[in-house]
Every structure is written in C-alpha cells, then in structure tokens.
Amino acid sequence: MTSTASAGATPAASADDVVVAVRDVHYAAGGRPIFAGLDLEVRRGRITAIMGPSGTGKTTLLRLITAQAAPASGQVTVFGKDLAGFGRRETYALRRRMGMLFQNGALLTDMDVFENVAFPVREHTDLPEPLVRLLVLTKLQAVGLRGAASLMPGELSGGMARRVALARAIVMDPEVLLYDEPFVGLDPISLGFILRLIKHMNQALGITSIVVSHDVQELATIADDSYLISEGKVAAAGTPAQLRASDSAAVRQFMTGSAEGPVPFHYPAPDYATQLLEADER
C-alpha cells in the first residue's frame, strides 16, 4: 500500500497545538513487526480517527500513547513530553490527564455502577462524599444511566457497560479521551448516542479525542482528522472526505469495505482446488 496523502494533509499545527506526536515509531510484538516507521500527530481540541484493518496495531498505538508499552525505536510525545524513560510516577501523572474507553468497558466487577464511576475520584481526591455523589450522578446523567447507579456490571448490557465506562473515563475531566473500538457490537440507538456524546464532549468541553475504530462510516461523521494505518505505517491521512477521494486503490478498498482490491481478504494459503483434491485422496 502506498502513501497517498501525507500527515500534512491537515493545515500545519503549531507545537503547542499538538497533544500527541508519534515519530518514526518501530514496534514489534512476539517477533511480529507491528509498526515500521509510524508517523502521526493528534491536535488539541479535535477528534482524530485512527482507522485500519483488524490486526494493524490500532490498539497497540493506544498502548504506546498511554505508556503501557515502549517503542523499539522512534519517539512518542504526549503533552510535549517524550515518554521514553518515564518512571511510574511520571506515567501516572500523565495518565491522570487522560481518559480511556475500553472496547469491553473494563468495569470493575466487584463494585456497582456508582462506585465504578466514583473509583478514580475516590482514589485521586479527598472530596467530601456529597460532592463525589454530585459528580458521579452528573456524569451518569450525561450518559443516560443515572437510574442504573445501583446495578452491578454483570447486570448491564454491552452498550450500557460502555456508557458507564465512558462516564468513568470523563469523571476526572481529562484533557484527552482515547476510545478503543467504541462502536463494536452496539445497537443503533447506543451507537448514535455514543457518536453524539463523543462529538458533544469534544465541542462542549474541548476534550481532544482519539478514536480507534474500523467503522469507517461512523467515524466519517464525527472525525476532524483521520489516519489510515496499514502495514505498520500511515497509508493515508486527511479529513474523511479526503480519504474517500483518495486515488489509491487500497485506501478506496478500505473506505468502501470491498473484498476485491490490493488488500487480500484471504490469509495466504495453497491453491484451493489442489488442497481439496489432496484431502479427497487421503
């Protein structure tokens, strides 16, 4: 796959404007190369979509940005600070400015919805109980689940669990919100709600959002900037409209979801007919 639009497809950003910068990052997991010279940046107050086929390392990118993993080479900068050599204290200080929505919600199963949302507040502040309650109920109201405050995570549907996780992610008013596949397995109502919520939090609270997903259509409606990752690099960057208008067959294949194109749908295998006949002979 060749690069069609460079990361500079969006207007040049000033250094203060860039919240996350990934420069020439190489990373391998279990001997398999994931990134080979990845370059991208996320600008303040914008919704940045990271797209790509399954297994391209989108979630790994979130792990690098949150300092859960370190690149083999290259640089990951968040809030202007290079994450290389960060100790636990610095890493935690960085993470307190971030929120993350996990694909499965990752709610703590031994406490109810209210306590899950209150968890970061109780751990990081000494706020009096009435204030904690106010804060938690406000966030639960924002995701439409104030009435579910006393339910346990096991009693929630997948969509509800993700909304509670979103309330928990925003309860400390983070500057950056990371979404890991937020649209997977949601019913249309929850999906529309999550989409509006991401947009609303970005516009009303000025939260910088990084959305990792392969749901092209959904992302196109909210993203300001988009990156398409493939084969360890940024294959294309720009606004969703720019990506759709790309002259690269591979980018167009991904954006339209076609099985035909330069990106093979089938995993490499011997000839189909030969293999079937071999099985017959045995």
Partner: protein
Amino acid sequence: MNPRRPDAYLLSGLQRLGSVTIFLVQLLIQCVPALARPHLLVMQIYNAGARSLIIIMLSGLFVGMVLGLQGYDLLRRFGSEEALGVAAALGLLRELAPVITALLFAGRAGTALASEIGLMRATDQLTAMEIMAVNPMRYVAAPRFLGGVIAMPLLTAIFSLIGLYGAQLVGVQMMGVDRGVFWSQMQGSVGLHDVNEGLVKSLVFGIACSLIAVHEGYHAEPTAEGVGLATTRTVVAASVITLLLDYVITAAFL
C-alpha cells in the same frame, strides 16, 4: 512436540523463582500503603478466611475424629490409651492443622484468588486501573495477599480446635478414654513451643500460598485457557511448596 531438555526445565524453574521473588518484593512494598485501606483488607480476610470456614471446620472435625480412632488403636497396643489427648494435640497443633489447612486453603481460597485476578486481567480491569493511574499491585494484589496471610493462622487455629473436639468425641465419648486424663495429659505435655511451631508453619504457609495464588493470577495469560492454567498451577505449586516447607520448618524446630 519436542521433548524439553532437563536444563530447559531447570532454567524455566529458576526463571519462575526469580519472577516470584521480584513479585514478592513489589508486593511487600505495596503492603504498607494497602494497610491504609482497611476496608479492602477486611473484605479480603472475609473472602479468604470466613468463606473457607465451613470446609475448614468440617475437615478439622473429620481429621480429628480419624486421629482419635487411629491414635486410640495404636496406643492401645502399647497400653497407653491415656496419652491420646497428647498425641492428638501434638499431631494437630504441630503438623496436621497447619498442613491440611494450607492444602485446603490452596484449593478453596487460592484458586478463587488466582481465577479472580486472572479474570480481572483478561477483562482489562487491571489495565483500566493502570490507565486511571491506580496501581493494581496496591489496590488488587496487596490486599488479597495480606488477607490470605492473616486468614491462614486464624483458620489453622480453628482447625486445631475443632480437630481436638473431634478426637475427644471419638476417644472419650466413643472409646471410653477417661475425660480427665485426656485433657490433663494434654495440658501437662503440650508446651508453648508446640503451639509456636504450628503458628510459624501457618504463617509461612499463608505467605507461600497467598503469594503463589496472587502471582499466578496476576501473570495469567488473558484467555480462558490462561486463567484455567493459572488456577491449576496455584493448587499444584502451593500444595508442593507447603509440603516442602513443612519438612524444612519441622527440621528447624526439632
């Protein structure tokens, strides 16, 4: 599958030992701040201790009753049935109560700990804590470890008590050993040294079993198979280590 060479087994064993040792040091560092959250600790003592009570009490009763039967039969051959109280007390306090409690603890509380923490890992709960800048070693691992370490001596004491009642039930009520002799010989011959041996054993077993369970759960592969494997390893490793440490401590006390 290629058969593994003996040196590969040795290397992986040493690697494991190193990993558990580093984990123990990290755990001990986090135990001090974990004490500042007493509600978490109380919850874990309840989970590891109170929830194991029925199995410990039932086992204690039957082990004591068997000890009464076997002890009576053995001592009668030498014409010294009166020593049943001493034999049962020494057997229980110094050996059976700490060892069987630890084995039962590994099977009941240890597996629960390993699978709970392993599932927390598999469902990203530990990662979510990390992202929320909360150290899961402090919040999840340390209270569970401490809970197990505190619960084990308490469970061992209860096991001994019920076991002695079981031995008395069989020896005195069923076999007709004199009640006064049974208790007075026990009082006269069992010293603080014997109680201490049991106490030291239960503390060491508590540390070993809880450490293994928490370590296995914490480092479980985040899959259904990985959590299952961690649970199995907990029982196997905790049981073997308990018996090995039992020999070492017994030898040290003699």
